[in-house]
């Protein structure tokens, strides 16, 4: 008799999802699906609202990386007010936004690594969940836990200084920014007492990276072989090929590193990206039109970014990038657990980028907004912590939004996450009669590589609210377990 395992809810971007794993009568995995069962509706209810409200309204999609939505919408609105497509703003406005963005990348990456991932690495993925959580980290690895908390705090303070609030601020407005930085604010970030200054943040980011590399050295078999599958990769890169999380052109490479999207203008993203709807999930499946629906899927996020960019424009991160690339002999890295390695290189880059920006006097100037010829359509893209984020709006003559299309990072990673779940389910569950907590956590570990938003809060306390149902082929419930 076959049976179906349902993991519900699995968490993703502020919502509920579930995993179903179909087993045949021999207990072999025949199918897996990561279903996203929540409907948000932002694209619909933003319609009719004035365009300048979008950056403030749409960021409510997320409580963890709202700055990404705030800035992506603001970039789209820059186009609407005729301020250009990313390079038309005043130096102050662009640099304030970049600082805000790097502050957010920094806090989000720190949150993910220290709060969510480190318990799996420090205690093992099948360790007792009572200890495999941030509290366990705080008890047994106090220094690491304190670093995680303080790095998040630093990033959040940067966001407060640039956006007005740590969560859901109003800093970015169409055509610019509504405030510059004061010298007091700047000096506090550069020269503040330990640990809240950029020097310490760079040191700690480097320390986190060294910790991961040390773990990797000892556990190469696990890190290099867990959920590995060939994938294309997509991200923004700077026009010169640099890692650029705020602005650039769209590039995609296939699993061998061949460019399949060659530095195109993201205003034309609809020419290159399609979205497929599947009946069992509210989350769409984006794909590269040139490759087709079945094989055009791609990975975004830290793994995708470091697979597409040519270099990182900050010295310490560049050195790490070279070591990282050498590990795969320059070829794209398709090892899911290496997403953590890539993320920590970006954490270091963000700390360096913040320090560089804070030393830039343009941040203190008061030339904040530019406007030009009003347009009716605009696209805003940036690299959110979890990957490429698309915002696309059309606005009528009365300044009302009439169309919005958002492709969020986690949506871009829909197919890779499904593949990762499938890989781990087959690896861990094939032929098993009893499903252990460790096996379920392995599924989570695979999903967690991609850092889908909501899993964070719940897993941080070690109780990701999973419910597992064993259902026979006729649909009857055999067993229910939760963790």
């Amino acid at each position: 008799m076959g049976r179906k395992i349902t993991i519900e809810p699995v968490t993703r971007v502020e919502g509920h999802g579930k995993v179903t794993i179909q087993l045949d009568s021999q207990g072999q995995v025949t199918d897996t699906r990561l279903h996203i069962v929540e409907f948000r509706g932002f694209e619909r209810f933003v319609q009719g609202r004035p365009y300048w409200e979008a950056p403030v309204l749409v960021q409510r999609l997320c409580g963890i990386c709202p700055v990404s939505h705030h800035l992506a919408a603001a970039k789209a609105m820059d186009v609407i007010v005729g301020a250009g497509t990313g390079d038309g703003l005043t130096p102050t406005a662009e640099k304030m936004r970049r600082l805000m963005h790097y502050g957010q990348i920094f806090q989000s990456h720190a949150l993910h690594f220290f709060h969510l991932v480190s318990p799996d690495l420090l205690f093992g993925i099948d360790a007792d969940p009572a200890i495999r959580n941030i509290i366990g980290v705080a008890i047994h690895h106090k220094d690491l836990a304190v670093q995680g908390v303080m790095m998040r705090k630093f990033g959040q303070e940067i966001i407060r200084a640039t956006a007005g609030k740590k969560i859901h601020g109003t800093g970015a407005i169409p055509g610019g920014i509504n405030k510059c930085l004061s010298t007091e604010e700047r000096d506090e970030f550069l020269k503040g007492s330990d640990p809240l200054n950029t020097k310490k943040m760079i040191e700690w980011a480097q320390g986190a990276l060294d910790f991961f590399k040390g773990y990797h050295k000892k556990n190469a078999a696990f890190i290099d072989n867990f959920a590995v599958f060939p994938s294309s990769h997509l991200s923004l890169v700077g026009k010169d090929g640099a890692l650029d999380l705020y602005h650039g052109v769209l590039r995609a490479v296939d699993s061998e590193g061949k460019k399949i999207l060659n530095d195109v203008d993201y205003q034309d993203y609809l020419k290159y990206i399609g979205e497929e709807v599947r009946s069992w999930s509210y989350m769409k499946f984006p794909y590269l039109k040139s490759v087709g629906k079945s094989d055009g899927w791609y990975t975004v996020g830290p793994l995708g970014r470091l697979n597409t960019c040519d270099f990182i424009p900050s010295p310490l991160a560049q050195k790490e990038f070279e070591e990282y690339k050498a590990y795969t002999k320059g070829k794209p890295n398709n090892m899911s657990m290496h997403m953590h390695w890539a993320r920590l290189i970006e954490l270091l880059h963000s700390a360096e980028a913040m320090q560089k920006l804070l030393n830039d006097k343009d941040l203190l100037k008061n030339d904040l907004v530019v406007k030009g010829k009003r347009q009716s359509e605009g696209v805003g893209l940036l690299e959110a912590p979890r990957g490429t984020l698309f915002h696309h709006y059309r606005v009528n003559e009365q300044d009302q939004i009439v169309m919005a299309n958002l492709i969020v990072s986690t949506t871009n990673n829909n197919e890779p996450m499904n593949r990762a779940v499938n890989y781990v389910a087959k690896e861990k569950l094939n032929g098993q009669k009893q499903i252990s907590e460790g096996m379920l956590n392995a599924v989570e570990v695979a999903i967690r590589c991609y850092d889908p938003c909501l899993s964070c809060a719940t897993h941080a306390l070690g109780r990701m609210p999973l419910e597992v149902k064993l259902i026979d082929a006729e649909g009857g419930t055999v067993d229910v377990g939760s963790k």
Binding site: G48, R49, P50, W52, E53, P55, V56, L57, R60, V81, A163, G164, K165, H168, G169, T170, G171, I173, P174, N178, K179, N396, Q398, D399, Q400
Partner: protein, 230 residues
């Protein structure tokens, strides 16, 4: 103008004949909350948030003139709870989404809700279907946020003609506008309309969120502190 003596919350105050209770209170450093009242506009008595008790009767302090020897009860638990209930009713009658409203931090309704410690309204939300109207070139009109205070109706005129007016009756009353006159509003008049509106029902186009968080009117001090000198 002759001076008269009144008492507000036990404090002896000096008022001028012809002043309303609200005006007299403010001149004496006593805050009586208002929403439909706006200095320079003819009082309307529309919102009743300024309700005080005089001689055992509830009166609108914005429309009631002072009289010699008047004893006014203002800051009492009972009256304050009634004011809070009015604020709650205004919230549930409309669709007030403070987190994304650009008037947040400058909104008098929101500021009063904070002052009277409104946590959750005691009344059920009505979720009315109210429209938005973007047809005025310089203004965006959001019916979801309108509390029908009539400040725009009384305060915005062009050549003596009212730009805004009321349509419908009772619970269905709405603010309407003269299409021709409203189309001729310039930037300055549009700004005045936005300033007159105590909530975010009338907002100027294209300039949203220009004031950063921390610099908005009620970011640092509660509403009423300008009167009380806190």
């Amino acid at each position: 103008m002759s001076e008269i003596k009144i008492t507000i919350d036990g404090k002896e105050c000096t008022a001028k004949a012809g002043q309303t209770i609200v005006e007299a209170a403010r001149a004496n450093g006593i805050f009586i909350p208002t929403l439909c009242h706006f200095d320079g506009l003819k009082p309307a008595g529309a919102c009743r948030i300024c309700t005080v008790r005089v001689g055992g009767r509830n009166m609108a302090a914005c429309t009631t003139p002072v009289a010699g020897g008047m004893i006014v009860e203002n800051d009492t638990p009972e009256i304050n709870d009634m004011r809070k209930s009015i604020i709650e009713m205004l919230f549930v009658e409309g669709n007030h989404m403070c987190p994304v409203c650009e008037k947040s931090g400058n909104c008098e309704l929101q500021a009063l809700a904070y002052r009277y410690l409104m946590l959750a309204p005691r009344f059920p939300y009505l979720w009315p279907r109210r429209g938005v109207d973007a047809s005025i070139p310089k203004l965006y009109k959001d019916g979801n946020r309108c509390i029908q205070c009539l400040r725009c109706v009384r305060g915005i005129t062009i050549d003596g003609k009212k730009v805004f007016g009321l349509i419908n009756r009772g619970g269905k009353v709405r603010i309407s506008h003269d299409p021709k006159l409203s189309a001729s509003l310039d930037d300055e008049q549009a700004q005045r309309a936005m300033d007159l509106c105590p909530v975010g029902a009338l907002i100027r186009k294209e300039v949203g969120y220009a004031v950063p968080i921390g610099k908005r009117k009620y970011d640092d001090r509660p509403i009423g502190s300008e009167v009380e000198g806190a």
